[in-house]
Structures are given as structure tokens and as C-alpha cells.
């Protein structure tokens, strides 16, 4: 008898399926916009105005970095909680409500962005409908209020999703008081907790400053303050995308390899470290921002480097698990076991190649995170190359590979073509190799990011090897291969949905463990403790920089009467002393 997810949790499967299709739609539009940008800025093929480039760039960033990733995340997390707790959500109507709220938010944001393509955008709420503010959306770029309202609805939707997962766990805990939190649920809960912490920054930025500013309630904002509040959220969101990827690597890759997860306790430590350290490091995106003392930036760099630890632990644990699986399949030798892995399986191969790309992304990330060497690559195409390896491959390729397993699980329909799926994940790897390599190398000689026309008069970039034209061609070739891969993925998903139901869908299971939760100290499951420490670390990392920014530039900009933050007389000397120590 078939025992797929849709058989166990038919109501939840419908929500998960809807979330996946929402993410695929965003992936399709955002991915095509990526090709448009690559062809335009490399001057290979131009069919949009350069002024529209920034509308395309905003849509590409928001639809892929926020919509695609987070819709897929909520699908995976709902699956992980219900599967590992072996119970449905408490109230499926509530589950649908947060999904609908996220969709509503996405539609509002998309309407605001896409209006940028109109010659005469409509005027709503007293201002032109327009949102060419890029994925980072901080001031001085200003969007229409509908853009910010949409973002708020989307984020609140994710908060409610998090509450849904928590209360499902609470209901389970009432019936299983002495049980350890199952690993997939543990991963979901710790991720949700740091999401709550980090999104407070962006909520404050939007609700207190950007939205009132766009509505004309206040005349100005402090740009440095909104930038800092964005990056308070903006780096943690990277880990929010990454955690469902880690969930897949920890609980699916070992099973697909034919073995078990090497260590449940180590996986719990990794997720606790992400809860603690994901947020108090956002200032590493602001190394070149004037107005933030170097000492604060140094603290952010230190915290960032600490986060290499859970990533290295993950590399060890996941590879050890894969080796265990390969040896169960008859693999032998120091490296010979690699050939025994199921490379014919697109789910496994996609995830494994994504993990390999993530290793490269980790190295370029260390360069971004180092204060001194960051100055070399800041705001260059290097950074774009970096995050196309992280979110664009480690996350996106893992999600696409996972979809080949999940879509049959939530629909009961067999995958249309495993061969096309294998070709698709390999093509993504090759396309991204071409594109990201050229972006990194271009960044090294100063090619800027976020510009439609990096071709300057009376100035030539000087690549160490090759020519600018060769690198542009490499980027364009990579982008074309990526879009072909994307089309193959979507084709497979669509044709799978037209398949009839099948009895040969694999059971809905995840990897067992070689070292299980019984080997993990119980304190690891103390979510209140870790959350409290995470909050304290955030307070340490952000209180003084934020106070300093507000003191020097005011809440709503320098010189705006009546809006300056006034510190108490007895706080001022203490703050000054601390600032001198840190700076």
C-alpha cells in the first residue's frame, strides 16, 4: 500500500503543494528576468531601456531572494513538522490563512514593482505606483506604500506560519512529554526563532520609517538607520533561505545515499549556533558605510567568522553521512566510495552538487566578511557571483532537486522524467560555473554591480587574465544555460502534474541516525535558553551602533527638529566612553 505524504496528510499536502507552486511561479519570472539583465549589462542583447533595468533587477531580486525561497521554505517546514511529529497541523484553516496572507503580500509587492514598466504608472494613495528600490529597498530609494504594505503582509504571513509550526509542536509535546524534539522539527523551530528575531529589524524599518515616509507622514528618514535595520535582517535572511537547504542535506541526502545521518547531536549544535549567530553580524554588509565606527564593524566580522563553524560542521557531518551510505552500497577505498553514490538520481546529484558549490561560496564569503579584503570587492560583481553560488545554487539547486522528490509526495504522481531531471541539475551546475566564475573575476578588477551599463568612456578595466569581452560572453553563456535548465525544471514539474496518480511513489520517510538524540545533551532542546542568549548577543552587537547612528543623524535625518533622539544626561558620558573603547 502506498504511503506517500499525500496519503498521510492529504490536507497539509494541498497547502505544501500550493506553496511549492507559488515558489515555482516566482522562480520562473525571476529567472527569466535574470537572463534579461545578464544579456543587457553584458551588451550581448538589449531590448529594454537601461532605465527599466532597475525594475527588472528589483523584480529579479525580490521574486527570487524572497518569494521563491520563502514559499519553498514554508512548504518544506510544514512537511518536516508534520512528518517528524507524525501528526497534522492543529487547524488547517489557520495554515491556509498564513499562506493566503503571503500570497496577498506577494501580489501587492509584484503590482508595485511591475508598474515600473508602465509609461504612465497609475497614481494611488496620492503617489505614483512604483517600486524600483532593488531587493534591499532601503532609503534613499523610495517605493510606493503598496510595496511596503505587501512586504509587511508577507512577513506577517511567515510569522503566522512559524506560530503554526510551534503550536503543532506544543500539541505533540502535550502527548509526548518525555520525548526529545524530533530533529526535523528542532531544525524548523530554531530557524523560526531567529527569523522572529531578525525580522523585528525590518518590521521596525518599514512600519516606523519607510511606510510613513512613503505616505508623506514624515518628510525624511535617516538613510543610515534604515540601511542598518535592513542589514540587521538582511544577512539573517540568508540563513533563513539556507536552513531548509541544510534540512534537506541533513535528513534527505544521507537517506538518498543509502545510509544514515552521522550525528543527530552535531546537527542540533549546528542549528543552535545559527539561532545564536545569524543576526548579530549584519553590519558586515556595511563595512564601507560612513557613520558606523570601525569597532562595531570588527565585532560583526568576528561574529561572521564564528558562523563558519556550523558550516564546517555541516560539511563534515553531511559528507560523513554520504560516505556511510556509499559504503552500505558497496563503496570501498579512501575515495573509491564516491563512485558508489547514486549519481543517476537527480535528487541526490542536485543536492550534492549544490553542496559542492556552497563550499566555493563559503570561500568567497570569507573574503566578503573580512573587513580589509572586503574593501577590494565591495559593491563589485564579485558579490553577485558570491550570492549566485549561495542562494542561486546551494539553495535554488537543492530546492529544485528536492522538488523532484516532493512533488510526487504531495501529488501522488510519478515524476515525468528522471533523465531530464538529471540533465537539468547538471546543466544548472555548468551554467552557474560559467556565470559565477566570470562575475567573481570581474569583481576583482572593480567591475561594479547594480548598473545597467558598466561600459565607460575613456576607461578600460584591466583583467588579470583574458578580456572583459570574454568575461561578458561567459556570463551571457552561463545565464542562457541557467534559463534552459530552468525551463527543463518547470517543464518536468508541469508534465508531472499532468501524470496520473501512481502506486510506486516512495514512502514518506527521512534519514535515520547513527548517533541519535539520546546521545545529545538535553540542554540542546532548551529553546528558551538559546533564544535568550541570541537576544543578548543582538543587544550587544546592535545597541551601541544604533544609538550612535540615531544620535548623530536623528531618527528621521539630521537636522529634523523635534525628531532627534535625546539621551539622558547620565547616559551620555557612559555612551561616549563605550564608543571610545569600541572605536
Amino acid at each position: 500500500m502506498r504511503n506517500a505524504y499525500v496519503d498521510q496528510f492529504p490536507a497539509e499536502a494541498r497547502v505544501v503543494k500550493s506553496a511549492f507552486w507559488s515558489s515555482f511561479l516566482a522562480l520562473a519570472i525571476g529567472g527569466i528576468f535574470g537572463l534579461v539583465q545578464a544579456l543587457h549589462r553584458t551588451d550581448v542583447l538589449r531590448f529594454i531601456d537601461s532605465t527599466d533595468y532597475y525594475t527588472v533587477l528589483t523584480a529579479h531580486g525580490v521574486l527570487l531572494a524572497i518569494t521563491f525561497t520563502i514559499f519553498f521554505l514554508v512548504g518544506i517546514f510544514t512537511w518536516a513538522v508534520t512528518t517528524s511529529l507524525d501528526r497534522g497541523v492543529v487547524d488547517i484553516r489557520f495554515t491556509w490563512s498564513w499562506y493566503v496572507m503571503m500570497v496577498t503580500g506577494t501580489v501587492l509587492v509584484a503590482v508595485a514593482i511591475f508598474s515600473g514598466f508602465l509609461e504612465e504608472p497609475p497614481s494611488i494613495l496620492g503617489s505614483e505606483l512604483y517600486a524600483d528600490v532593488l531587493f534591499t529597498f532601503y532609503s534613499p530609494l523610495q517605493a510606493h506604500p503598496i510595496f511596503y504594505i505587501g512586504l509587511v503582509l508577507f512577513v506577517v504571513g511567515t510569522w503566522l506560519a512559524g506560530f503554526d509550526w510551534f503550536r503543532t509542536w506544543w500539541a505533540w509535546r502535550d502527548e509526548n512529554a518525555d520525548e526529545r524534539i524530533p530533529l526535523p522539527t528542532f531544525m524548523v523551530l530554531t530557524t523560526t526563532l531567529f527569523w522572529y528575531i531578525c525580522t523585528l529589524g525590518v518590521a521596525l524599518s518599514i512600519l516606523a520609517f519607510l511606510l510613513p515616509w512613503s505616505l508623506g507622514i514624515v518628510d525624511s528618514v535617516n538613510p543610515l538607520l534604515t540601511r542598518t535595520l535592513f542589514w540587521y535582517f538582511g544577512h539573517a535572511v540568508v540563513y533563513f533561505w539556507l536552513m531548509p537547504t541544510y534540512v534537506m542535506w541533513y535528513i534527505m541526502l544521507p537517506k538518498l545515499s543509502g545510509g544514515k545521518l552521522f550525528s543527530d547531536p552535531l546537527a542540533r549544535v549546528v542549528f543552535v549556533l545559527f539561532l545564536l549567530l545569524s543576526t548579530p553580524l549584519g553590519i558586515h554588509h556595511q563595512y564601507l558605510d560612513p557613520g558606523i565606527a570601525e569597532g562595531y564593524k570588527f565585532i560583526a566580522m568576528t561574529n561572521t567568522m564564528f558562523l563558519l563553524l556550523p558550516s564546517l560542521l555541516t560539511a563534515f557531518t553531511v559528507v560523513a553521512s554520504m560516505e556511510h551510505g556509499a559504503r552500505q552500497r558497496g563503496g570501498e577505498g579512501y575515495l573509491g566510495w564516491l563512485t558508489a553514490l547514486p549519481w543517476r538520481d537527480p535528487v541526490f546529484t542536485g543536492m550534492a552538487l549544490a553542496g559542492l558549490m556552497f563550499a566555493a561560496a563559503g570561500f568567497s564569503g570569507m573574503i566578503n566578511a573580512g573587513m580589509n579584503i572586503n574593501y577590494l570587492v565591495h559593491n563589485t560583481w564579485w558579490v553577485v557571483g558570491h550570492f549566485h553560488l549561495t542562494v542561486g545554487t546551494a539553495v535554488a539547486l537543492t530546492f529544485m532537486a528536492a522538488a523532484y522528490w516532493f512533488i510526487p509526495q504531495v501529488t501522488g504522481k510519478e515524476l515525468w522524467s528522471r533523465s531530464v531531471a538529471l540533465g537539468q541539475v547538471l546543466l544548472w551546475f555548468v551554467g552557474m560555473t560559467f556565470m559565477s566564475n566570470a562575475m567573481h573575476r570581474s569583481g576583482l578588477f572593480g567591475m561594479p554591480r547594480r548598473t545597467a551599463e558598466p561600459q565607460y568612456q575613456n576607461f578600460d578595466f584591466e583583467p588579470a587574465v583574458g578580456t572583459v569581452a570574454e568575461m561578458d560572453a561567459q556570463v551571457a553563456l552561463g545565464a542562457v544555460l541557467l534559463v534552459v535548465s530552468l525551463v527543463l525544471f518547470l517543464l518536468n514539474m508541469v508534465l508531472t502534474s499532468f501524470n496520473g496518480t501512481s502506486d510506486s511513489i516512495p514512502d514518506n520517510t527521512y534519514a535515520g541516525t547513527l548517533s541519535g538524540p539520546e546521545d545529545a545533551p538535553e540542554i540542546l532542546d532548551n529553546l528558551k535558553l538559546w533564544t535568550a542568549i541570541a537576544v543578548v548577543l543582538v543587544i550587544f552587537a546592535y545597541t551601541l551602533p544604533l544609538a550612535s547612528i540615531v544620535e548623530s543623524g536623528g531618527l528621521f535625518g539630521p537636522g529634523i527638529d523635534g525628531r532627534q533622539l535625546s539621551l539622558g544626561a547620565d547616559l551620555e558620558p557612559a555612551l561616549e566612553t563605550l564608543r571610545e573603547v569600541v572605536a
Binding site: 552500497r329 563512485t339 549519481w343 543517476r344 552538487l353 538529471l422 547538471l426 555548468v430 573575476r441 587574465v465
Partner: protein, 67 residues
């Protein structure tokens, strides 16, 4: 085959980043090669890996393909 067809395909795909980086790496030693020369090196390596994988024949790869 020494390895499965899937493993062979992945092995060839994994050559791509090495071949692309080869130009940069060789330039450190004062050796500059063109894009076409890089592609030819990549092609030669792919042929070499394929030949290694196909010869001498044994059952391991076929068994891995079936699993």
C-alpha cells in the same frame, strides 16, 4: 564500465570549473592560454575520463546504474 553512467556524467561536469579556472591558475606561472586552448584541454580531459570509465569493462558500473 568502471563507474556508473551517472557517475561518469557527473565526473565530466565536474571538469568544467577546473577547466575554467585553469587559465587563471596557469597565468600565475606565466603561461597564458586562450579560451579555445582551454576548451581543447577540457575536451581532452573529458575523453580521457570517458576512456578510463569505459575500459576495461566490468560489471561495477552496470550494477551501480541498476541500483
Amino acid at each position: 564500465m568502471r563507474v556508473s553512467k551517472g557517475a561518469l556524467l557527473v565526473g565530466i561536469v565536474l571538469l568544467v570549473p577546473f577547466v575554467i579556472e585553469l587559465r587563471t591558475a596557469l597565468s600565475w606561472f606565466g603561461i597564458e592560454i586562450t579560451v579555445v586552448e582551454s576548451a581543447l584541454v577540457g575536451l581532452a580531459l573529458a575523453v580521457a575520463i570517458t576512456a578510463w570509465a569505459l575500459w576495461p569493462p566490468n560489471e561495477d558500473g552496470e550494477a551501480a546504474d541498476r541500483s
